[in-house]
């Protein structure tokens, strides 16, 4: 059977099985069982598949995924996040679309300490969406920033997906984490500017309201006291990596421990909140890593069948300009983002992409950040935008999935604008990343 036929068959079966609502990891397992038996050669092939399952996640470089998620979960379950939102809310007063801006600013702060995009979106959605709707914010204006900030979370360290990308693609993990800071901040600024501009042009989108709660005596001091320790944790993670004192895995463990200690210092940590944080971490990282267990053999099958080499050779022989190939690669990621989850996209595309990128001599950290932005857009695009589901899960009744889809659209365009900026001005990423 030719590599083209194998490639078509594997992808067709994957899409077909995904549509039956079989969990993604198990879709890979089924294809692996059939593929291993037929392509690897009978029972030894199945033995190889099982051995792969063990080896796929037993990797030190993947350890930051649960630990970064743990940071976000602790923030979420101890109530530290709520305190931060209140502190930000107390200083942002006379701004058009105030609560939407509070969402974006608080979300950016959380991004600096949470490696769990799901936790960040769920927390902001459940806390701020009801408040905004109650104050007659137009639903799309209220939901858009909550969805958008989940994407910023992917770029600003700690980021579980950046670790996963670095680990699977062989790109410097600390390079990706540090390289994502400036684009993440620019993206957050773009989102804030967009919200302010829209609400300034049309005040009906976010009507102003009178504060009914007790005023905070020293709002800026309160902000510093509340937010500074969280920024300190972010600094600990980033500086320990940049300074070479710790590997990304070690930095993630220090970050997780520091988050627990800060929660303890604020007297917010209870046995129950710690248990919930650990349970949430096991669920989120378990779901993610279990897909990797399945997808590793899938990637091996593609490679063993000759599909990877065949496709790479086809692209190399096409004589297309490098820019066209890169844009084509990013477009494929965006299209896949409509249908498949982020981990699967990585497992499917990276075996093809990395040899091509290395052959072209492209800066891998730069491309990695563009790749992560595509993953971010995938989180927001229907029908498999995970953050859309998360927001639907925490929305009050009456908020339809269609409305949530539409709320995300402007932020998807702004993210594409950010990608264009990075494509044209690579220094946005590379200027802050040490050369290998």
């Amino acid at each position: 059977m030719s590599w083209g036929s194998i490639l078509t068959l594997m992808f067709a079966s994957k899409v077909g099985l995904l549509l039956t609502a079989l969990p993604v990891a198990f879709v890979f397992f089924i294809i692996n069982i059939v593929g291993s038996y037929l392509i690897f050669g009978g029972f030894p092939g199945l033995e190889q598949m099982v051995r792969n399952e063990q080896l796929s996640v037993a990797q030190f470089s993947l350890v930051p995924i649960p630990l970064f998620v743990l940071m976000g979960e602790v923030l979420f379950h101890t109530g530290l996040a709520m305190k931060s939102i209140d502190a930000v809310d107390a200083v942002i007063r006379r701004v058009p679309g105030r609560l939407a801006v509070v969402t974006l600013v608080a979300g950016t702060i959380f991004s600096a300490i949470s490696g769990s995009t799901i936790a960040t979106t769920a927390m902001l959605g459940s806390l701020l969406l009801p408040q905004m709707l109650q104050r007659n914010y137009e639903p799309k204006t209220a939901m858009g920033p909550i969805l958008a900030i989940g994407g910023v979370d992917i770029l600003i360290p700690p980021s579980g997906l950046a670790v996963l990308l670095g680990s699977l693609a062989g790109i410097s993990i600390s390079g990706l984490l540090v390289g994502g800071i400036v684009p993440g901040l620019i993206l957050a600024a773009l989102f804030i500017g967009y919200v302010i501009l829209r609400c300034w042009l049309n005040p009906e989108l976010a009507p102003t309201y009178e504060d009914t709660g007790a005023p905070v005596a020293h709002p800026w001091l309160n902000l510093i006291v509340t937010v500074l320790p969280l920024i300190g944790i972010f600094a600990l993670v980033v500086v320990s990596m940049i300074g070479g004192w710790a590997t990304p895995t070690e930095a993630s463990a220090l970050g997780a421990l520091a988050t627990v200690l800060v929660a303890l210092l604020y007297r917010q940590l209870t046995w129950e909140s710690l248990q919930k944080s650990l349970m949430g971490t096991a669920s989120i990282s378990g779901a993610l890593l279990f897909i990797i267990v399945g997808a590793t053999t899938f990637a091996q099958l593609l490679s063993f069948s000759g599909a990877t080499a065949g496709l790479v050779a086809l692209i190399e022989s096409s004589n297309l300009p490098q820019t066209v190939i890169l844009i084509g690669m990013l477009t494929i990621l965006l299209v896949l983002g409509f249908f498949i989850d982020q981990t699967s996209i990585m497992m499917i595309t990276l075996p093809f992409y990395m040899p091509i990128l290395r052959a072209m001599g492209v800066d891998l950290v730069w491309f990695g950040i563009l790749y992560l932005l595509c993953m971010q857009i995938g989180l927001l695009t229907p029908p498999f935008g995970l953050l859309l589901f998360v927001l639907k899960g925490v929305s009050p009744p009456g908020i339809t999935v269609g409305l949530i889809y539409r709320a995300a659209i402007p932020y998807v365009w702004l993210t594409i604008l950010m990608m264009v900026l990075i494509f044209v001005f690579p220094a946005i990423v590379t200027a802050f990343v040490a050369s290998p």
Partner: protein
């Protein structure tokens, strides 16, 4: 049958607790390593290796619990657009596939484990220990997942099929939201 399901429920919970304990141990172990190194103490021998096994254990031990709580990531485009009967049939199909996968994976991994016990295969890295110390994890997880999927299949007869997208988001529980 109900007794088997109840026992398996305990097993699934126990495995999940071990997964959580494994994550906590990884956090403490790696942090301790960095702090010790900063103060000039030598590295903890075998910590990296233990952490790798910890990640493997936490991933596999959490999997049956994720199946039980419907938290494995899945695409529900079709599921949320079809009638109850079709949704139920799709759910039966998915669970049957999971059972089949677990039976095959469980059988192959058990044979590998038996082979490794018979040949006394050792893992030689920083730590040296028999291979089967790791080999039992996949068979046990496969067993727990297969029985869990069977229980869900039985439950499906008397319960309506949920087509709510939000229920498929890992780590998100409505009662925990602020």
């Amino acid at each position: 049958m109900q007794m088997i399901f109840r026992l398996n429920g305990w097993l699934v919970r126990l495995l999940c607790i071990l997964a959580v304990a494994s994550i906590a141990a990884m956090t403490l172990g790696i942090s301790a390593e960095v702090v010790l190194r900063m103060f000039g103490f030598p590295s903890i021998v075998g910590l990296i290796e233990l952490t790798e096994y910890g990640l493997f254990i936490s991933t596999f031990f959490a999997a049956p619990h994720l199946l039980r709580t419907n938290e494995h990531i899945r695409v529900d485009i079709l599921m949320s657009r079809v009638d109850q009967t079709t949704a139920r049939n799709l759910e039966y199909f998915a669970l049957a596939c999971i059972i089949l996968i677990c039976v095959i994976t469980g059988a192959v991994s058990t044979l590998i484990m038996i082979g490794n016990i018979q040949s006394a295969t050792l893992i030689f890295k920083d730590l040296i220990f028999p291979q089967w110390w790791l080999d039992w994890i996949i068979p046990l997880t496969s067993l727990a997942m297969a029985v869990q999927a069977l229980e869900l299949m039985v439950m499906l007869k008397s319960h309506p099929v949920s087509t709510e997208a939000s229920e498929h988001v890992p780590g998100l529980r409505a009662e925990e939201l602020p």
